[in-house]
Amino acid sequence: MSLDNTYQAVMARKNEIMKSSMGLDYEVYRQGELAFDYERMMNDCGFTLQDIIRIQAETKVGNTPMYELHNLTQAVRKISAPGKGARIFLKDEAANASGSFKARRASISAYVAAQKGYKGVIAATSGNYGAAVASQAAQRGLRCIIVQEVFDSHGIGQPEIVEKGRKCEAFGAEVIKLSVGPELFYYLLLTLEETGYFNASLYTPFGIKGVESLGNELVMQIRSIAGKDPDAVVVTHAGGGNLTGTARGMLAAGCRAQVVACSVDLAGLHMASDRDFNRKSFTTGHTGFGVPFATWPDRVDVPRNAARSMRYMDDYVLVNQGEVFYITELLAKMEGIERGPAGNTSVTGAVALAREMNDDQIIVVQETEYTGAGKHHNSQLAFARKMGIEVRRGNPEEGVNGKSIVIPEHLSQVKGRRQDMEKLRVSYLKNAAKQLAPDKWSDIDRSFVAADVKKDLAWLDAALKSI
């Protein structure tokens, strides 16, 4: 009997496909209409931090270097008020197998898939995660399929995404290349159903647990180098898993540093637009993912998202494309390292924040990623120019997404800007209210919602009156 493979029919089979592709029943964590037992879900995967570190060490993940960016710190101090300019540190996650922190996120899923006897793993992603899953699957003897949004209706692929696809193939994965659209998820479901492979989703407890080792490692390294805890940790933010996992790992190490999200501001560009697809120079770490995932995490390919960034986020800094390209070039020229866009987004955020912080304070950029053809900022800018986007030096605030990229002329023009956290929290509440009217929320739903935005019940009551 052949199954009905129309969009609607496949989406209607979502829950049963997910259950058999992960062996995880999310229903047992349900506590109310909105609430679920997040901590129990995270603990039930049964791995301690020590287990995670051991599993990751088997497949070339973790124990990445921590560098102090002395020259960049000095440069920031020259443009800061006296006594300002925090020490900037960088955790070189590009040293993981596959070249990014995403190896941490993929490692536990691949381990579990092998343990449970699945023949292969599948992931839907246009990011470094695909290469990470492919690399981990290769080491665990699993087949791998990566489902990726690659090209627009003219068949043109964003150079960074083309490179990420190449890397997946290099590790032996089958890469399904798709045109622009949210139906990526539809094809993921079809492929899971056909193959019976494990769904190595970015948003399972395994994915997030894998990143906890990063947060823990980072704190231990700063304690060892500087003899104290970091004051702030900047995390490039998209789907929320990097921030959630890192923050949880930091808490496990007893570190209470500020957790700051940082995204490239891509306001004005629609993420599912065929036209806009090739008019953005960043494929992740941008507000097109960062804001919607923060304000409603459960919009993903699993019933409940283990990446719940607003639970842990203290602040959120936005940077623009021109600012990140400038800092990327400066990192190469001043610090002698070439790295890719994801980590450099938070280096840019860290420069902006370090100027406000005291010079005895420490700010940590918690990831880097590899770079090369397609991912390099020169590739991105050359491609942008071909797509008709103006590229020039000047005041980066003059850049208009999709039309122009203005690269700063001077470090003092790298300022970033604050995302309004209160607005994000209220936006989350509005999304929750769309699921169920607030007057119908039970006490357990109310407590869950408050915790999900890192606030208490008094705040919740006041905020609900305003929406």
């Binding site: 440069a75 791998c144 190449r166 193939e169 399904i176 539809y186 629609h270 065929d274 053809a373």
Partner: protein
Amino acid sequence: MSKVPAGTWVEIENILLTPEQRAPQVPEDTRATPYVMRVAGFLVAEAELGSETEVRTLSGRKIHGTLKVVRPHYEHSFGETIEELLTIGLGGEL
């Protein structure tokens, strides 16, 4: 037209959803286009470019589709030099 021999590394293409079948939430410009997939694999049997055929992918799956490219390759690069970058970090910003 000359035949492409079995075993050749090729790329096939399929229309997964026509514009009418697309997800309800897609924006207008995207909705005007079909949802297309491409995958590379080894050609199972000799075939002509543009014909319906079958490939065996790197994961070992057999997938049907229209034969589009023979021996697909990557040509993404570092792009034409952006001169605006070259002067950054030479001391002027400090």
